[in-house]
Symmetry: C2
Subunit: 290 residues, 2 copies
């Protein structure tokens, strides 16, 4: 299948599966609605798409990886809800819509995030895969999202506001805050397919490069992007006094860096066949405008 | 071993294990300190003690259940941190110490809670038990803590503030908010021991009765307890305008109800031998003063 058609098919498959999971949550006050509001808010589903693609690359059935892909997307969604809270980044808009706490209030936004994070592990545990693989998926996702991964990155990110961080410090924050989850997305696909350790490490490496390029693009778009296309105001890094790659190196050097990382990511796939989708995905993410 | 000695031995074993897990978290800003502050804040460890005791009842090695017990305690701790936040119950003291957000600020308190919840699943996944049991433990804990359990209960609890709820509504809130996790604690012990489904259901039933008695005692202590012994001010239910069992039924009826539930809990253990610890635990929790 051609890249755009496959991407759309996977995105639709993920949307349907997420909607089905959401329909099973009980209807206690505004909780399900608040969880669903952010979960179905038009995300690009990059991470779960990566999970499905890697599963396919290693000969697995993409549908078998769907619970891993959807669980990871729920964790990603919870992190956005909590990041947007007034005590964190205090953002009013996300993907062109008011943020969760703007609609449901702070208490419900905290709880909707908590519930999505917890439900993610229910979804992982429901996968129809050998229990060894499910256990490893739980371990990998919890490691990537926890204190040694995404949450650790968010703590350092908040701590760095208003400070002039060095490039190494920015790299560490981005690797933890964004990179770990993109890497986990690739690993979950490999785990679902029952890959070898070497295969899993190769796609983890691919994902780290793609993830960093993705984050540099994010910084670039925050300075030079179109707010209407992004669905949120630009300049938020500056208003939050965050050190960014663009501020450190300039736009041109960042563009060259994105290109270099994309080439390196593609080289990680050299040992494998039928890599066209993942190669095109790397270029697609590097060149995105939203 | 005599009850008090066994209880103390189990509590010490859990304290040590929790401390070891905490020592492995990375040192990103104040995150590990904030997580550890609440995790090691002198909780009574009722839930993990129950996990170990049930594992022992069904012939398992208590140490094998330790990762399940500690993971569950981390989830319990995260829920206390988030419940105390200004946008939730807005409490300043917990177990005689300033609440997490009072010490580390709201952003770090939200993130410390998020990190504890996530780390809990890392800890579960690390158990040296057959992967089928680990998967089931993940499913049971996520179900109990998630939107159909504890978080659902907290949403209903906040929604009920200032309203005159009926007894059925209070029962539902307490079953979700507190009961689900106490039931999960018993189930995790049974799962660790590789119990039969009938054995697991029997201790789940025991735990639901004990859990409800525990919660009614909580309401009683909030009215008639000693703030110095409790480590937090009494009268907080009234100041939050929460409907309680005591307000509905009066103190004497609540005392009788606690006694009845404790007897029912003990009856659930009738099919088993060596139940002395769990029988005494039921009385101990029903009669607690803190």
């Amino acid at each position: 299948m051609e890249f755009t058609a496959q991407l759309r098919a996977d995105q639709e498959c993920i949307e349907r599966a997420l909607k089905n999971y959401a329909a099973q949550w009980p209807d206690y006050g505004p909780l399900r609605e608040a969880m669903t509001y952010s979960l179905m808010a038009g995300g690009k589903r990059i991470r779960p798409v990566l999970t499905l693609a890697v599963c396919r690359l290693f000969g697995g059935q993409a549908e078998e990886a769907l619970p891993f892909a959807c669980g990871l997307e729920m964790v990603h969604t919870y992190s956005l809800i909590h990041d947007d809270l007034p005590c964190m980044d205090d953002d009013d808009f996300r993907r062109g819509k008011p943020t969760n706490h703007k609609v449901y209030g702070q208490a419900n936004a905290v709880l909707a995030g908590d519930a999505l994070l917890t439900a993610a592990f229910s979804v992982l545990a429901s996968a129809a895969l050998p229990p060894e693989r499910v256990c490893r998926a739980v371990a990998v996702l919890a490691q990537a999202a926890g204190p040694a991964g995404m949450v650790g990155g968010q703590v350092l990110d908040l701590l760095g506001e208003g400070k002039d961080l060095g490039e190494e410090e920015i790299l560490q924050i981005e690797a933890l805050k964004t990179g770990c989850m993109i890497e986990a997305a690739a690993r979950l696909g490999a785990i679902a397919a029952g890959s070898t350790p070497a295969q899993e490490e190769a796609v983890a490496d691919y994902a780290r490069k793609v993830g960093l390029a993705f984050q540099i693009r994010d910084d670039v778009l925050d300075v030079a992007g179109d707010a209407a296309v992004l669905g949120k105001p630009t300049g938020s890094d500056q208003s939050h006094e965050k050190s960014t790659f663009v501020a450190k190196k300039g736009l041109a050097a960042c563009e060259a860096w994105i290109e270099e990382l994309t080439q390196q990511a593609i080289q990680c796939l050299a040992p494998f066949s039928e890599t066209e989708f993942l190669r095109t995905l790397a270029h697609f993410l590097a060149g995105r405008t939203a």
